[in-house]
């Protein structure tokens, strides 16, 4: 097969078994996959669990700071973590284009295995499909995940209240700009790198520090923090006032955004979170975040306000103000 995936790798026969064994099981290596059942089993204590899924279609597949596989592991862990939950297990479904280099597939699988081991969240079940050349774009990955919510914690999208603080865990736009730059083959002076990371460790310290004051969390992925804040505003039926100067933004990302004609507020992040905190919890949550490597640059960027229009308003660096809308017509596809 010339070192490439062919259709027999998805047909349920011997070739598929060898591909799964030789690449995926080897890379993800754990007792659940070795058991070789149609599903994997694990023991849970009574309580509240969460489940989430995301598909990944990022183009290009490899970019500074990660690849489609690490993104798939981190992204699903993060959507679990945004409930304050402890991520437990992942599944991974691969849709592969005929002709895709086995070496690239192996590289992706190996880095997924490494990311999952680093996070302590094993990939316990998977699936492999192959489609004809020209019917996909290299490889697409869908991951799902489950986690356990600590007793007493119940974060909800409608829980924000006027007066609550909005904190972002670090600089915005790094991931989206990295992928766009790589895609457009741009060379910037400095090296911008994706922020792709698993946030459950950071979240655990925040919950430990002041779980009862955390209203809700979101990872500002597609649509950036603009979309995230607008979503929360509508779900909690209030507005936000944010301060442009308070939002962490790397100068090189700002420059790249300007060059690419992007608003950093709309650009995807893959290792950042937005947390809405009751006033009493702000100090403790900020301190806990700043003490964690992934929250060192955490910043209070604004507050929730009563607003029937659910507007997100921003005081700009130039002393003016503007409404921050979510992306409507413009397109920033295949960023994740």
């Amino acid at each position: 097969n010339n070192g490439r995936v062919d259709l027999s790798h998805g047909a349920g026969g011997r070739a598929m078994g060898q591909l799964i064994e030789g690449i995926f099981h080897k890379a993800f290596d754990n007792e659940w996959l070795r058991a070789g059942n149609d599903q994997s089993a694990f023991t849970v204590a009574a309580g509240r669990m969460v489940m989430t899924t995301d598909g990944y279609v990022v183009s290009p597949l490899f970019f500074p700071g990660g690849n489609i596989g690490t993104l798939a592991v981190h992204g699903t862990i993060n959507d679990i973590a945004m409930a304050g939950a402890v991520p437990l297990y992942l599944s991974a479904s691969f849709i592969i284009e005929e002709g895709f280099p086995l070496a690239d597939l192996e590289r992706i699988a190996e880095s997924m295995g490494a990311a999952s081991r680093e996070a302590g969240v094993p990939i316990i079940t998977g699936d492999t499909k192959v489609v004809e050349r020209g019917k996909a774009d290299g490889v697409f990955i869908s991951t799902a995940g489950v986690g356990m919510v600590p007793a007493g914690l119940d974060l909800r999208s409608d829980a924000a209240r006027p007066g609550d603080a909005v904190i972002v865990s670090g600089s915005i736009g790094d991931h989206g700009v990295t992928v766009m730059s790589k895609r457009e083959n741009l060379e910037f002076d400095t090296d911008i790198v994706s922020d792709s990371a698993a946030l459950h460790g950071l979240v655990a310290t925040m919950v430990e520090a002041s779980g009862q004051h955390i209203r809700l969390m979101r990872d500002p992925t597609r649509g950036g923090i603009a979309a995230t804040l607008n979503e929360i505003a509508h779900q909690s039926k209030l507005g936000f006032h944010i301060d442009e100067e308070a939002i962490p933004l790397k100068p090189e990302v700002a420059a790249a955004c300007e060059f690419l004609g992007l608003d950093p507020l709309n650009v995807a992040n893959e290792g950042k979170l937005v947390v809405v905190v009751a006033p009493e919890g702000v100090e403790a949550v900020l301190a806990a975040m700043r003490a964690h490597p992934l929250g060192e640059e955490a910043a209070l960027i604004g507050h929730a306000v009563a607003d029937d229009h659910c507007f997100v308003q921003m005081a700009t660096s130039f002393g003016g103000g503007r409404i921050v809308d979510w992306l409507s017509g413009e397109q920033l596809p295949r960023i994740c």
Copy 2:
């Protein structure tokens, strides 16, 4: 947008929100999706859970007896059920090609919602990505699912023992032949229809009747019962003797297989199961199966035997014998 999906539907902005709301949430309609979080929460009792995932790339998307969406719901429910587990919740990740008709997407989503309601297994979380025209093939769907294993039950792929009976729940090859016929634009005299169905109800009656004697179950999807029996043989380190005459096969499916040059043993099923049962349980399991609409034609097709070569041997209708291997070189792609 001319009634078609465009790239903005996957970009995280307002268009995506409207697509999710207007098509998916409407079709799947449940309290979890309405909560609008990055993940969905549910309460579990202490015990053993299972998780599984499958991607669906079937071509054509619509076929007699179902479509890619109903297949995705049934298939993931079935992989949970094969552990003897009660399926609880599903996730669904959609990868959509730019230009895909919204009406087709809605039709798929509506029938997934119906299938999930009929099975009593809600789709509680999802994801939507859009790729450029020519970078996918209409729509791909990956579902994951979780379920709870009844206390005391522990089915494992290495649990078969020489002397165990092999039972199949009904006629083989219906799904694969239906999809192939539709794809090749063949018109047969009779209407062959996919067997796509959710098997957890059938499984529940089997477990109730004689759970302690069930060694393991598998749904013979890609690769057909040939692949399934070979897999079990290798995992349980034994062989099988099966009897061709005992295997339920519709005459029209047999005819279509002959025309298409397929061995029905290699053809995918999407609403059938293979169960290995200890001798003491055969009568009770068979009776329970035959009393269920999806097991009316259940048949004892053979036995496990001690065999270091792990061969699956079949007594043919002509009085001869042959080794049933799994598909190796041949290709039957995009059947599910």
